[in-house]
Symmetry: C2
Subunit: 403 residues, 2 copies
Amino acid sequence: MIFGISLSADVPVRQASLRQHNLRLVLGQVALVSPQSRADIAAATGLTRATVSTLVDDLVSGRLLREVSPAPRSGAGRPGVGLVLNDADGPAGLGLEINVDYLAACVLDLAGAVRHREIQPGDRRGVDPATVLASAAALASRAVLAAEDQGLTIVGTAVAVPGLVSPDGTIRLAPNLGWRDVDASGFTPGPLTVENEANLAALGELHHGSPGSADFLYVSGEIGIGAGIVLHGSLFRGARGWSGELGHVAVHPDGPACRCGAHGCLEQYAGQEALLSSGASAVSPGASVADLVSAAERGDPATLARLSTAADALGVTIAGVINLLDVDTVVLGGIYAPLTPWLRPGIEAQIADRVLTAAWSPVRVRPAGLGSNAAVVGAAGAVIRAVHEEPAAWLVPASPGKA
Amino acid sequence: MIFGISLSADVPVRQASLRQHNLRLVLGQVALVSPQSRADIAAATGLTRATVSTLVDDLVSGRLLREVSPAPRSGAGRPGVGLVLNDADGPAGLGLEINVDYLAACVLDLAGAVRHREIQPGDRRGVDPATVLASAAALASRAVLAAEDQGLTIVGTAVAVPGLVSPDGTIRLAPNLGWRDVDASGFTPGPLTVENEANLAALGELHHGSPGSADFLYVSGEIGIGAGIVLHGSLFRGARGWSGELGHVAVHPDGPACRCGAHGCLEQYAGQEALLSSGASAVSPGASVADLVSAAERGDPATLARLSTAADALGVTIAGVINLLDVDTVVLGGIYAPLTPWLRPGIEAQIADRVLTAAWSPVRVRPAGLGSNAAVVGAAGAVIRAVHEEPAAWLVPASPGKA
DNA sequence: TCAAATAATTCAACCGTTAAACAAATCGTG
DNA sequence: CACGATTTGTTTAACGGTTGAATTATTTGA
C-alpha cells in the first residue's frame, strides 16, 4: 500500500506530526519549482524563514535535498543558495512492468528523471508465471545495479500488471496473460507494490506526463482496455482496488459475446483484436499497431471504417463516464495514443451528443504524453512519490563520519 | 462550499491547526459513541487525558458538547461525567428541498436528530422560479422559528435541487423544473449552499441512513434519474460539481430519442415517465408511484414487464458503473426505494453477468433507508457536518455573564 | 472508616513555530 | 575602495499545545 493517504483524520496529532507535515510542504515546494532559496520557500509556503531553515537542514542532512552553489542572481543583497531535489546520491524508485508482449524496468530519481530503462520484448501469453517473474526479477536486479553505479539507492519497487490486483499483492485475474491468483508479492527484495497497469499509467501521466487536469480518465488500450481514474489529483482505486474495468462496460447490451461471458462489451468494438484481426482489409491478420497507423495514413477505407466504429464505441462509453464523473479531460494511452488523430473525432462527436454539460464546459481529448512508457514510469514515480508524501520516514540518518 | 476538505496539503501548519485537528477528533469521537467520559475519549483517540480535558472544556464552553450527569456505572472508582453532542441549545442545520412535486424543510440538531420537518406538496413544473423560491423562503423562516423555540440556533442552510448547480449557487439547468440559470444563492438569510438533490440524498444515506459501505452509488429515481457517488466515505462531486448524471448514460446507443438530444438514455427506460405513463396496463396515465406498487403487488403482467425492462436497463448501467468505480453497494432511492423488490432481481442479474469481479466479491443492492426524506435530511446533515469538520470555527464565544 | 480504584485537573517540561534581532554576503554609488 | 542599502540565513527569547507525573476528587467494597 504505497498509495495510501497518510494525513488521515481520526488520529491524534502531536508536534511531531506538525513537523512531518511541514517537511512535506517544503519538499513539495522544491519539487514544484526547482532551484529555490530558503527565502523563496518561506515566501511561497507561508512558513517563517527560521522554520524553513531548520526544515531544510533536516532534509539536506537526510539526503532528500541538495544545495547548488549560486542561485540565479537578481538585484542587490546576499545571494541565496539554491536547493534542488537530491538526484545525485539520494533515494530512487524502481518501476517494473509485466505486460503481454514485453517486460520493462525503469529507475527514476527523486526529481522524476529517468536514470535507467530496459525493455525486453517477447510474447508472454501462457508462459508459466514463475518464469516470467524470474525474468522480471533479473531485470530488477540489473536496474538496482545501474542505480547504484550512479550513486542512487532504490528505496522501493512498484510493478505494473495488466490485471486485477488484491491489496496483498496477489494478481487475482490477468485474462490476457492467462494468470489467475498469482502471488507476486515477494519476487524481488525490498518493499514491493503490485498495481494495475492502467492505474499506474494514469499516475505516470499525472505526475510525469504533459501537465493537464487533475481530474481525468486515462484510457489504456492494450490487448484489453483498462482505465485509470484520477480524481482531484489522486488515483481512485475503488473500494477494493478494482476500478477501471472500462473494457467490459456494455456498449450494445445485446451485442456479440465477450470472453468475460457478457455481451456487447467495449472490448468487442475497440479492443486490440477487434482493431487488428477482423475482416478483410489492408491490414493482414497478425499485423501490429504500426501497420494499422500506416494503413490509416494511407487512407485505407476498411481501416478507417474500423477505426470509426471503435471511436464510436469508445465515445459512447466515455460519454457515459463523463456524465457520471464529470472529468474534464480524457487521455488516450497505449495503442490509442498513436491512433488519436483517427479516434478523436468520433469520440468528441459522441461526447458532444451525449454529455449534458458538454455545451458549456468542454472536454479535452488528448493522447498520452508518455506513450507506452506511462505504466513503468508511473510505477517508479509511485515509489518516489511515497517519499515525497512522507519525507520524515525517508530521511537517511546522518552518518557521524560524514556529517 | 460547505463540503470542502479543510485539512488540505499545501498549507503551513502551526500549533493552532494542531488544536483544530484534535478538537475535531474529540468531537468526532463523541459523535461516534455517545455518552462517553473524558477518559474514554482519551483511550479511544490516543490523546492524553490532560489534553482531552482542555479540548472538552473548549467544546463545552463553545456549546458543541454537553455534560450529562451520570455515566453508566461499572465497577469501583470515581464515575466519569458523560459527554454528548449538544442537542439542547447548540447549533442546528437547516435543509431545504425544492423538487418537482413538493417543497420540504428539515432541521437537524448536532446529534443528527430531526427536530422539525415540513412538507408542502404541489406541482411546480413551469412555475416562476421567484415564486417557488419565495415559498421555500417562507418554509425556511418557519423552520428557523421552530428551531429557536427548541433552543437551537440555525448556523447554515443547504438546499437540494433536482439539477446541475454551479459552485456559486446558480442552478445551471433543472430540466424537470424547467429552470435554467436561476440564481438561488441568497434567497434566505445566512450562509447557504445549493447542491444537487441526488448528491445530498447520498450524503443523507451515508450519515443518517442505514449504516453500510463507505463506497456506494446512490441512484435517485425522480422525474429524472440522478446519482450520488460516495467514495471512501465522502461525496464525489466531479471536477466541476456535475457528476452523477446517470439518467443520460446510454443503454442502447441507437435507442429512442431523449429530451437531452441523445438516443437511448437510461431515462427512456427507467425514468418515472417510462414507468408510469406508457402503454396499456392496469396503471392508468397520471397514476402515482403508489399505484404502480399496488399493481405490482397484484401481479399485473404489464406492470411487471415494464418493471423488468426498467430493471434490465438500470442493471446494465449500474454494472458499467461498478466495473468502472468498484463500489460494493448500490442504494436505490426516490421512487426506486419502494420498487426495490421488483427491480432488484433484474439489476442483480445484470451485475452478476457483466461485472468482472462479481464472482468473488459480491455487490449489495438495497433500498434507501431514508426513503423520500434522504435529500432534505442530507441537506441539513451537510450543515451540521460542516460543524463537525471544523469545530474551531463554530465555538460560540462564552458570554461573560453566563460562564 | 479506610483502602482501592478510577476520573479529572494541575503543573513543570518538551517541542516546534514565530517574531525580531543579528550576522553574512552582495550590489550600487560616490 | 569604502560605505550604505539590500537581501539571505541563523540565532534567541517567547508562545502555544501536548505530554507525563503528581495531585485532587469521587465512588465502591470491605
